[in-house]
């Protein structure tokens, strides 16, 4: 008899039989199920009960506008479904460089981008009522005096200085450190005036302030709280404050009584993070959600046909296309790259691969709404004959082989790659398609590996729609090594230090002109995203992006 069996013999008394053990296991299993159900029942608020139903309060306020007209605002609750990708992971704005809607609800910025009626949004006062460049390297912002944090403390210039200093310090690991790279120091002039000093003249400080969410010094700077507390119980000065939060799942916001901003009717917001497109759209269809973001393009027409459902296309911020090798032969001959540009039927790809939603790019890497977009440039003409002639002139023989790295994880990634490869095949270039994952792709962006001659890319100007954000990647000093054109560098550097909007725009146009004649890539279609909303619930829905959506500006029907 072994030692184990001795143990069994001693341990198993007459009271402990196999039947009792089975009965106990069954009872425990049942108990676990009941406990789980009870715990779940006391968890997050039920989403369905607050969605698709008349507003929680149904109250109405009337405001009188400048013309004397009376506007009736309905107050109530909005329930929205949002895809993930950084959304809802934490409520601290240091965590991600993305422009998530909840950050614009909880926090203020010095200035806010608003729809302007033009393609490019305009900058409007927010925490700062006005600003001016006292010197090329010194911007002064005048803060409103009625701004308060959600805990009732006043917002002052100290908080603005603290925020910029905090974000700039790499030890704080802020993901938005890249938004303040030109900032040298921040001075408190008086409690309501703050000055931002830059290392070099930077006309984009006000525009880039859109990305910098002002945070409270007395809370974030207190070791008792810090960034961890900001991540779950934030203190902000935005139109909303946190009611309840389940990381990665739900964010329930309520109107911040201390906010200067107020709302136009949406007093409560229930954000539901639903990464799966099918689930998000299914919930929208069934009425559990009042709005959803990031609709797949192939679902837009289906949703548009649903009763009381509308889709909305915010301005496209970037493009979908390819980075093309610039330095190695034969690609270093611009005739080769121009041949590729004329080999593609951009309109056909927009129509067939992307369901007719996005527009073809117009011979530049900037989308139409971007400040700096050159309207005089046109889409490269689809001309395979000319493309073949250009290749011949450059000494490239038919049957030339190349590689195209594409991302199968993006929407229509493979279809897009196959379509482009087919067009290249028509001009005698055999493209070998190589799927790559996002981490490999990013290594290619940052120059940590040698890219294939063609690599899928999607440069964006971000929701601020300022050309420099996309164009900066084409500088000869960029570690990604996408481009090397001294004329382009000169035009870009002139643009980003030009304070006059018209002159800056001219400099951008010059930069994209240069790229058009000597393209480092193929810019095929705009990177369109879509949102959808219930038209019987929401009367005014006009976000500048998808994201962000400013909940405080939505008007309920």
């Amino acid at each position: 008899m072994t030692e184990e069996t001795n143990y069994w013999n001693r341990y198993v008394s007459a009271r402990l039989t196999r039947r009792r053990i089975l009965q106990g296991a069954a009872a425990n299993g049942l108990g676990l199920t009941v406990l789980a159900a009870a715990a779940c029942g006391s968890g997050t608020k039920k989403s369905a009960s607050t969605a698709g139903s008349p507003s929680a309060s149904g109250s109405v306020t009337k405001t009188t506008g400048a013309t004397g007209t009376v506007t009736t605002l309905k107050h109530g609750t909005l329930t929205g479904g949002f895809s993930s990708g950084g959304v809802g992971q934490t409520l601290s704005p240091n965590s991600t460089a993305l422009w998530a809607s909840e950050f614009y609800a909880l926090y203020d910025q010095l200035a806010r981008l608003e729809p302007s009626g033009q393609p490019s949004p305009k900058l409007t006062p927010a925490l700062a009522t006005s600003w001016e460049a006292q010197q090329p390297t010194r911007w002064v912002f005048h803060l409103r005096s009625d701004a308060k944090w959600s805990d009732g403390q006043p917002v002052t210039a100290d908080d603005v200085k603290f925020t910029y200093d905090y974000v700039k310090d790499p030890a704080n690991k802020s993901a938005i450190i890249g938004r303040v790279t030109t900032v040298d120091s921040v001075d408190v002039v008086d409690p309501n005036t703050v000055a931002i000093n830059t290392k070099t003249p930077d006309p984009l400080i006000p525009r880039n302030s859109f990305f910098v969410h002002i945070m409270p010094k007395h809370y974030l700077g207190d070791p008792k709280y810090g960034d961890q507390a900001m991540g779950t119980k934030p203190v902000g000065s935005g139109a909303y404050t946190i009611d309840s939060y389940s990381q990665g799942s739900s964010i329930n916001l309520k109107k911040n009584p201390n906010s200067w901003r107020g709302t136009t009717g949406v007093d409560t917001v229930n954000m539901r993070i639903i990464s799966e497109d099918t689930t998000r759209i299914g919930a929208f269809q069934s009425g559990d959600l009042d709005m959803v973001d990031q609709i797949p393009l192939n679902q837009i027409s289906q949703i548009s046909q649903m009763k009381n459902r509308k889709t909305f296309l915010p301005p496209a911020t970037g493009y979908l296309g390819w980075d093309v090798e610039y330095f190695d032969p034969p690609y270093n001959d611009k005739r080769v790259r121009l041949a590729f540009a004329h080999a593609i039927d951009y309109g056909a790809i927009a129509k067939t691969v992307y369901f007719g939603v996005p527009k073809p790019m117009q011979g530049q890497m900037l989308s139409g709404p971007t400040f700096g977009f050159n309207p005089s440039l046109k889409t490269y003409a689809y001309d395979p004959a000319m493309a073949k002639q250009l290749l011949q002139a450059a000494g490239v023989q038919a049957g030339f082989k190349t590689k195209m790295e594409f991302r199968p994880d993006v929407f229509q990634g493979q279809a897009f790659a196959e379509a482009c490869a087919k067009y290249l095949q028509d001009i005698g270039v055999q493209a070998d398609l190589v799927p790559i994952q996002i981490n490999v792709w990013r290594d290619g962006l940052y120059g940590r590996r040698k890219r294939a001659p063609f690599m899928y890319d999607t440069w964006s100007s971000s929701a601020s729609l300022e050309a420099s954000i996309a164009l900066q990647w084409m500088l000869s000093t960029n570690p990604g090594k996408f481009y090397n054109n001294s004329d382009f560098d000169a035009a870009y550097n002139a643009a980003v230090s030009e304070f006059d909007d018209n002159k800056r725009q001219q400099d951008y146009w010059k930069a994209v002109d240069i790229m058009n004649a000597d393209p480092p890539g193929l810019w095929v279609v705009e990177g369109a995203v879509s949102a959808a909303y219930r038209s019987d619930k929401i009367a005014v829905f006009n976000p500048i992006g998808s994201p962000p959506t400013y909940f405080d500006e939505l008007v309920l029907a």
Binding site: L22, A36, T44, G81, K173, S275, E276, G282
Partner: protein
């Protein structure tokens, strides 16, 4: 002796955990640089280096590994790169939410599989048997993501009976648990049917019938209890399978468990959370395997006699 047995199992578990932690450390780092994911490509190379220094990612890999092991022994997996929250407590909180799906799914699978498998075995060759086995084959063949989407469209969108995402009341549990049950329910039904069919041929069953016992009594008191033993030994391993399947199910139903967290962390290359999650799942499976071994020994006298 119990102590020696437990010590031996614990030592084996520690060796396995060490290997698991090593694999987690290196495979997480094979996936890419988390800093470029964090900042969405808006940084200069210099800024990226500063952030890598702040996160300790610029140290030599062996040094990072030793620091990681030392901290892991103290149950410190660092801070999430995305959220700056302590990784292990974050994962533990999410695991509690996941357990609301995992344990009920396993338990209900077993509870439903027992009568289904028993009936199928007793009525072998009949329509009941065919239906049960057909359902089992479908349950084991249909991927969980397909089943989940199907249930969403039938019960959520078309019929509007049940909510399709998130937490809330009891009704929020139904669809995700039903999806998670698909595979284990099918598997247990088939196994129980096979076990009972085999047990019914034993002599003691004939003896019981010959003694005049009713068929129900024969099946429930003699056949069923003996047939369930192999299923008990599977439960420990199946817990790991259901947890893995839960990653997909949580994504489909936007359930805020650690499966969703793991998916998002894997995409973002959030090393501390990936490692903490792997550690927690590994520890759970190891502990449950030891527990099942102990229970199996209690249930089966032949184990006690060292047969």
């Amino acid at each position: 002796m119990l102590i020696n047995y437990l010590l031996r199992r614990i030592f084996q578990a520690l060796v396995v955990m060490f290997l698991l932690l090593t694999v987690l450390f290196f495979t997480a780092r094979l996936t890419g640089d988390p800093i470029t994911f964090l900042v969405g490509g808006f940084l200069t190379a210099d800024d990226i280096q500063k952030l890598r220094t702040a996160y300790g990612l610029n140290q030599p890999l062996p040094q990072q590994y030793l620091i990681f092991l030392w901290n892991a022994i103290h149950l410190d997996f660092g801070q999430s790169i995305r959220t700056h929250q302590a990784a292990l407590p974050l994962v533990l909180n999410k695991a509690v939410v996941s357990s609301q799906l995992v344990f009920p799914a396993l338990f209900l699978s077993l509870v439903l599989a027992i009568p289904l498998g028993t009936l199928a075995a007793i009525k072998r060759g009949s329509g009941v048997d065919a239906a049960a086995m057909g359902g089992a084959v479908i349950g084991q063949s249909v991927p969980s993501f397909f089943l989940g989407v199907l249930l969403i469209f039938v019960f959520g969108v078309t019929l509007g009976w049940l909510p399709v995402f998130g937490t809330g009341g009891l009704d929020h549990l139904i669809l995700p648990i039903a999806t998670l049950m698909g595979y284990p329910l099918a598997r247990y039904t088939r196994l129980i049917r096979a076990q009972i069919s085999e047990t019914l041929t034993h002599e003691y069953v004939r003896t019981a019938r010959a003694k005049g016992l009713s068929e129900a009594r024969v099946v429930i008191h003699h056949v069923l209890q003996n047939s369930l033993l192999p299923i008990v030994s599977l439960l420990g391993v199946d817990l790991g399978l259901v947890i893995s399947a839960g990653v997909i199910v949580e994504a489909i139903f936007a359930w805020p468990g650690f499966g969703s967290l793991l998916l998002q962390s894997a995409v973002a290359r959030d090393y501390p959370v990936i490692q903490a999650t792997g550690f927690l799942v590994g520890a759970t499976v190891l502990v449950s395997a030891i527990f099942v071994d102990l229970v199996y020994g209690l249930l089966d006298p032949r184990m006690r006699l060292g047969a």
